[in-house]
Symmetry: C2
């Protein structure tokens, strides 16, 4: 990675686990003044190294009692479906969306209030992908032990 030094990487590694750390404390950790850290963080945001910041929330407190993975097997395996994927990514229920190797190329993680919503969402996926969608496998999340480098302690939700 050009233009990125070890201090930038330190900053990224810290922010990944402590997204709300102050610039002052971050400066102390990496050995820079608050102003310099700010410049670096702004650079990293501009470069796209930092996509955003997120709190790790227990979905139960938002009455989202059902979380599920949707594994999609698509007929097409190229970038022609990217526009559809971006549309799916924008949906409010969708927490994460990945393209990966293997048969079930698309993995979606989403949160719902109840199982009816899961069914409705699966239907929405079928409509959005149309005949490109060969198969959908749904699995329900039972425990979350770690999410985005943040430990979820007991794993109970």
């Amino acid at each position: 990675m050009p233009g990125i030094d070890e201090k930038d990487r330190e900053i990224l590694r810290i922010l990944r686990k402590e997204g709300r750390i102050t610039l002052t404390e971050l400066g102390k950790r990496v050995g820079l003044s608050p102003a310099s850290v700010k410049n670096r963080v702004e650079k990293l945001e501009k470069l796209g190294a930092i996509k955003g910041y997120s709190a790790i929330i227990d979905p139960a407190f938002l009455d989202e009692y059902v979380q599920a993975f949707f594994e999609l097997k698509l007929a097409i395996d190229d970038h022609t479906i990217d526009p559809i994927l971006r549309r799916v990514a924008k949906l409010d229920e969708v927490q994460s969306l990945y393209r990966r190797s293997g048969e079930r190329q698309i993995l979606v993680r989403a949160s719902f209030h109840d199982t009816d919503e899961v069914k409705a969402f699966a239907g929405r996926l079928k409509r959005l992908f149309g005949k490109n969608l060969e198969r959908v496998e749904v699995t329900l999340i039972i425990d979350t032990f770690k999410e985005n480098w943040v430990s979820c302690e007991t794993g109970k939700r």
Copy 2:
């Protein structure tokens, strides 16, 4: 959820997408003074509604060019393996770890510098779970479109 009102849920929904928002701005959005928001956020952290805060980082900037899902089929399906799962969750390479329904009960997402590390990690998993581990399926992440409610724009990394 007892003791949680609509304003708390608003706060959680906003923090999920904007983890680094100031308490002042958060207060404006939900119609409360900064001090009140602070009290509520502290309450939500204490209750475990907020597990932590995380920046969404493009792994390439940390020279983590290989990201993978590990889907584990375990011989045992109860909570006796929870201690092992917690040990796996603590590993530095592990970004997320879930227990879910279906045959491949455990899903791990992890980041690596190269494919050798992937192989080494798979070996480590086998050692940790021992004879409880029936099968490991590894898939490589090609694109990340959304991560923890944060859009990753182009999906390119």
